[in-house]
Symmetry: C2
Subunit: 238 residues, 2 copies
């Protein structure tokens, strides 16, 4: 195949039907690239230049995914509601919610992007899942510990600079740090394994788009966060 | 240029230095595609096949962006802390935080993906910014109103099914719905304009990656949410 610029297409009797030129392949590759990008950003493929798509059609293509993600996010309401009592007693825990769940979402979309793209380039396949899982657990732990330490010191800084977190700030700092390790590790595992799972099930791995991963990790991230905080603050602040 | 499969490269005196074949171009295109994907997912480019990169190097490539995003997210701590009193009085508002900020992040990354990709395909350029802005404001409003209505009914459902939101649930429903319109509209505007701004400043628009947009929209989304809730619940629950 190397260095060919056109390929013949024949029927079963080897009668020439036509040729596929490298132009055709480039055109298809560019279409596929667009579709992949749009799926990863959570839109159905547009199939027309952006400025030619009527606004209402643009809306229709985008709203479907947004509604799916939005309804998925209602699970976070349930997660939040089930920890309402904990929050009532230690309201300061609410302060960290956006930061904690976003670290899970960010590490998850990063991992998903790496794996989707490595699959697209043929560098990894579904059979490599265990090797990938081991690498991602290690990377996820390293990243989680790093961000956890940063998080711990942010609580320290917030305490000394703005007196934000009350007398138990060290304990709160540990709760935040440890929760971040858990959330980042979990986000990394989910982000790397989900594209492989989708591929295994015959779906397009690019469907496990960044927003989709972020939504999944939001819910589990909240559970990890409140679970950790509950265990570490029980008997002291709870 | 059409239908050529190799191009000659000459020096200033038209002496042939060599040829660039379509293979070379395909190779470069595939490298660029990888880099774009990795930037959009918030990783520095790997430049090696995934399984060949040592875990510690993988960690180093990924942690930089994660720390930047994490430190960016500390602004959400400030936003949350400044509304701590509001939250103390109407704790139920905390329940919707993950859902609200994720709708901003999702609509923002969707818009960013569309625009980055339309720019990559040459369908839009920086000069089209005003035309794009008008389209995105319209789409953002349509999407925001749709999700806002869904959000309003989710509060209704949560009230009647699980008695989650107390006697002022209608007012809370309106606050949530209106906040969602604002957050989605804002996310869409930010997501579509930021890649154009980066391009204008000479940076790579793909740098305005999904996680980066999500982080920005998290902070502003919280301010829009609490601001709206404060205005609508003042005198009743606050």
């Amino acid at each position: 195949m190397n260095n060919r610029v056109a390929l013949p297409v024949t029927d079963d009797n080897n009668v020439l039907l036509g040729i596929v030129t490298i132009d055709d392949i480039l055109w298809v590759a560019s279409e596929e690239f667009s579709e992949d990008m749009q799926k990863m950003g959570g839109t159905s493929a547009l199939q027309e230049p952006y400025l030619d798509v009527p606004v209402f059609k643009l809306y229709k293509k985008r709203i479907i995914w947004l509604i799916i993600l939005f309804v998925g996010e209602t699970m976070t309401i349930a997660a939040m509601a089930s920890f309402q009592e904990t929050l009532e007693q230690v309201l300061v825990l609410s302060t960290f919610i956006p930061m904690i769940i976003s670290s899970g979402g960010n590490s998850g979309s990063q991992a998903a992007t790496l794996i989707i793209q490595a699959m697209a380039l043929g560098e990894v396949a579904v059979v490599d899942w265990w090797q990938i899982a081991k690498r991602e657990v290690k990377s996820g732990l390293l990243m989680g510990v790093t961000l956890g330490i940063v998080g711990f010191f942010i609580v320290f800084g917030g305490h000394y600079a703005f007196d934000l977190f009350g007398e138990h700030f060290i304990r709160i700092g540990f709760a935040i740090g440890i929760a971040i390790i858990g959330v980042v590790l979990w986000g990394t595992i989910m982000g790397s394994m989900l594209p492989l799972l989708l591929k295994r099930l015959g779906a397009d791995p690019a469907t496990s788009s960044t927003p989709f991963i972020a939504t999944l990790v939001d819910v589990t991230g909240l559970l990890i966060y409140f679970g950790t905080a509950f265990m570490l603050l029980k008997g002291v602040l709870l």
